[in-house]
C-alpha cells in the first residue's frame, strides 16, 4: 500500500491538538467557505482532529434552505451538515453573532449544531494546533 502523505495518529497515543477552521465569510460571495468545506472533508478523511466554528457573517453558511438552480449554487448549508457523516461530531456557531444578525438556532440546517460564547471560542483558538480562517 502506498504511503499516505499525512501521518495518521497511532492508536493509544494521546489526542492531538485539533485543527480549527474559522468560517468568517458568508456563502457564495467568495470561494472561501466552499474551499474551507473541502479542507474540512480532507482533514476528516485523514482522521485529523478537527473543530469548525462559524462566526460573524460566516454563520449564514448554516442557514437552512440554501441553493439556487438559476445561479448554479448548491446547498452549502447541507454540505456543512454532511460533514458529520465524515466523522465531525458537531458544528459550532458563535451565539453573539447569531443574535446580532437575528438568526435563531432553529433557522439553521438540521444537525449537531452547538452555540458557543466568545469566551469558549477564545479557549478553542488557544487550544488549537493550527487555526485557519475561511
Amino acid at each position: 500500500m502506498a504511503e499516505l502523505p499525512v501521518r495518521l495518529p497511532e492508536e493509544g497515543t494521546p489526542a492531538e491538538r485539533p485543527v480549527l477552521l474559522l468560517f468568517r465569510r458568508p456563502p457564495y460571495g467568495t470561494v472561501f467557505p466552499a474551499e474551507g468545506l473541502r479542507m474540512a472533508e480532507a482533514l476528516l478523511a485523514f482522521q485529523m482532529p478537527l473543530k469548525v466554528v462559524f462566526l460573524e457573517d460566516g454563520i449564514f453558511n448554516l442557514v437552512k434552505g440554501q441553493g439556487n438552480k438559476t445561479l448554479g449554487f448548491g446547498d452549502l448549508g447541507s454540505a456543512f451538515a454532511g460533514l458529520t457523516s465524515f466523522g465531525l461530531q458537531e458544528l459550532l456557531v458563535v451565539q453573539e453573532d447569531l443574535s446580532d444578525r437575528r438568526v435563531r438556532l432553529e433557522d439553521l440546517v438540521q444537525g449537531p449544531i452547538r452555540a458557543i460564547r466568545t469566551t469558549e471560542l477564545r479557549a478553542l483558538i488557544d487550544e488549537a494546533k493550527v487555526v485557519m480562517p475561511f
Binding site: R122, I125, D126, V131, P133
Partner: protein
C-alpha cells in the same frame, strides 16, 4: 500562546474587531493592518483595550514606513518590529492569521 496577525485595515474590514474578541498574548499589524495603528483609527479603542489588558500589540515598521506612518501618528502603547522581529515572533508564538 498565539500571535494574532492582522493584515487588513480596520476601516474596511472587521478583522481586528474579530481578533480583539479572542486575542490574548500577542497581536501584530502588518500590510494594511498597520493603518489601525494610527491615532485616528476606527480601531483605536479596541487596540487600547487590548493594550490595557496586557496584550502585546506590534506594528511592522517596514509597512508603516512604506505608508509614511512611521512614528508620526502612532497610538501610544503600540510597539514596532522589523522583519527580523516578525520572524522572531512567529518562532515564539503559534500564528492565527485573520484573513
Amino acid at each position: 500562546m498565539k500571535l494574532h496577525i492582522i493584515s487588513r485595515s480596520a476601516g474596511s474590514h472587521s478583522d481586528i474587531a474579530a481578533a480583539s474578541r479572542v486575542a490574548s498574548g500577542c497581536l501584530l499589524l502588518i500590510e494594511d493592518g498597520v493603518l489601525s495603528a494610527v491615532n485616528g483609527s476606527p480601531a483605536r479603542e479596541l487596540l487600547q483595550r487590548l493594550i490595557d489588558e496586557g496584550v502585546q500589540v506590534y506594528a511592522l515598521s517596514e509597512d508603516l514606513e512604506a505608508r509614511g506612518l512611521k512614528g508620526v501618528f502612532m497610538l501610544e502603547g503600540i510597539q514596532t518590529v522589523d522583519y527580523d522581529g516578525f520572524v522572531a515572533l512567529v518562532e515564539k508564538y503559534e500564528v492565527v492569521p485573520w484573513l
